[in-house]
């Protein structure tokens, strides 16, 4: 089960993920990112501090946006991951492809870099 909250901060869309992302809840993650993109946000922050688990399907959602974001010049930074979740990202090599910050302030720094 996943609970997704969205709020806007300094022109960035902050998507907070609370709970676990598995094959079925990954659809919700996909929908909320798509919604954020649809609303025209160029900066997307994903708050993973309350994310307990993410399955390969959930990782696939992040992965699927990488190229699109590059083409459309949209920046996405994930932050606040627990070690376990961070490990899942790094095993798949997604840490190489996604921008991941330690905390919110670092994430904001990353996203504001040119």
């Amino acid at each position: 089960m996943i609970h997704i909250k969205r709020l806007q901060e300094d022109g960035a869309d902050v998507i907070a993920l609370i709970g676990e992302i598995d094959a079925s809840s990954s659809i919700e993650l996909d929908l909320s990112i798509a919604k954020s993109v649809g609303e025209g946000f160029k900066k997307i922050l994903v708050d993973c501090s309350a994310l307990e688990y993410i399955s390969s399907a959930g990782l696939g959602v992040f992965m699927s946006y990488i190229e699109e974001f590059k083409d459309r010049n949209i920046k996405m930074v994930l932050f606040g991951m627990s070690d376990k979740v961070a490990n899942t990202f790094s095993i798949l090599g997604l840490n190489e492809l996604l921008q991941i910050g330690k905390d919110k302030s670092q994430a904001k720094q990353l996203i504001n870099e040119v």
Partner: protein
Amino acid sequence: MRSKAISRILFSVGVITWLALLFTDISILLSSVNTIKPDLPVWLPGIILNLFIVSLFYYYKIKIERDEVLNFVDLLWRVFATGLIATVISLGLRLIEYLLGDTTLTRHIVFRDLVYIINLGLMIGFLMMAFAAWKRLILYQKSKWLLRLWAFFEIGLLISLVYNSFKFPLVEWLYGTLLGVFVVVGLVLSGNMKWVAFLNFRQKWTSLLLLLLTVFYLLYIFYTNSSLSESIGNSSPYFTEYRYHVFILSLIVFVTIYSIFSFLVILFNLPTTSVFEQKLEEVVNFQRISQSIQTEQSEESVYNILLETSVSSVFADAAWLEINSNAHEHKIFTYKITDKESYDIINHLKSQNVKGVLDQGSEKTKNLSKHLASLKGSRFRSILAFPIYVKGQNIGTLALLKELPESFNREMTKIVSTFSNQAGISIENFRLMEEALQNERYKEELKIAKMVQKSLLPTILEQDQDFDIAAFSESADEVGGDYYDTLRIDKHLISIIIADVSGKGTTAAFHMSQMKGIFHSLAQRDIEPSEFMVQANQALVYCLERGSFISATYFIINTQTKTIRYARAGHCPVLYYCADSRSSQYLKDKGVALGMVRNKTYSSFIQSNVFQYKPGDIMVLYTDGVTEAKDGKGEEFGYDRLLSIINEADGMSPSEIQNHLINKLYEFSGTSNIDDDYTTMIVKFK
């Protein structure tokens, strides 16, 4: 067959008793007229008459009561036919008498008695026939009470025969009492006319005619018999007089009363027949709608049945059924109205801003007739619309139309409302059944996918003198995407792969088979593991859909140089046990899963690694199902537990290590009901 034989015997008994009655009666009568003492006792004809009555009684009982196929009109027809035959014979006798003229023969007492006995036999036959038929009609919808009353009537009548057989002078008063009781009971029984309601209009007319003629026959036969018995009675009192016979008199009264009652009831029922027929049709229609779920092949036929039944139940001139499959798609089924006309009305009502059911906004059924009055060019003046709900969701509207204004009444509204509710239920059931079928199909598909997946895994692994190898794979109910394989490149080179396809189900099995194809084509030659991954990625980019990826680790073991080259593409890090240091560690290095980077830059995200192996070293390959296995509290098995288990495994063979690991895993999760795929591959070097 048996009842047929019995009815034949009874009929012959009837004929014989009638002949006996004829001879005894004539002989006694003749003796009495000639004032000789008769040879036969005077009570004998009475007893023979009763025997005749009893045999006819049972004859018709068997003939009429046992016949299951007779309907009401058939019964009336039988009675009518019997009456007709009796009357024709009786009239024939009169004709003969008339042709013979006023001669000594016709005046002779024997001739008159012969005619009388023939007429008496005909009358009794006719009465018994009618009695049996009326019994069936009266008992059509029986209650306990009615059955008891009838039994009393029938048995009472039969017992009265005994009374008639012997003339008890002492109980003369009994005669009047008995007759009175039978007449009253007969009257009460005659009140049972339920069968009349089940006749349709045509049958009622036929019945009226048959009954009218039956009554005429009865009256004619009564008249003939009574005049004959009077004329004989003037000559001598010693003959079989029926006019004091309780049984025959009761029967005459009962049969006549019931015939007249039936005639009148049917006559007065005629004007309301159409109402009853309509009710009956409603019941039949309702049944049709209810049954449509079992028999109909599509929702469309349910809609058509709803349309037909509603129209026929309320005598609508036209109707349409608008179904909204989704927000934009409308489908319209029409009856005696063109699509254009329907849409004209729909649009008209929309433009009038009628908040009725047509705009799907209201839950109530509404009579929208007043809004039709303002639509020019439409022949319809009354409209009644109903919403159709499936699982609480409005899926469409049924509209019924009439050309006359104000022609839908409250009754009709109720009926059609019931129909549309039932149709809603039918459609809901239909959809549920379809869903169940879909699920069944999906399950079947999964079964096939699982079989495919199983067949993709190798049954035999590559063997070598330099190492032992064991592999194990177990998948959950759903099809997973774990894959492992080995392939010998040449004498000293063996390639090994372990991979995990993201997602589950048939697509996972499909991607797994692609991975297998890629492995078997690329691992033919000795290429750098990183190059293997780059090429595999390139191949997979075109087949993997958005969001899907495959994690894999590819190894090439060189037994000549004792080296292992490998590249890890997002797969779980290899656990390596070093025999020298008696410790194990995860080989952490960089590598992005296949399908994540879909351009030429992928080569910068993958690297080849190389290390030496020594005898006793153990290499553990696994998928995330192992490390992510959870116990009852939701804690994961994790990397540390896996590492400590391998540390204990010194001295064990690969298959022993594997069994040990699997046991520990099940022990940890506390259930054999796994919800992910576990795959392990263990290589131990010699």
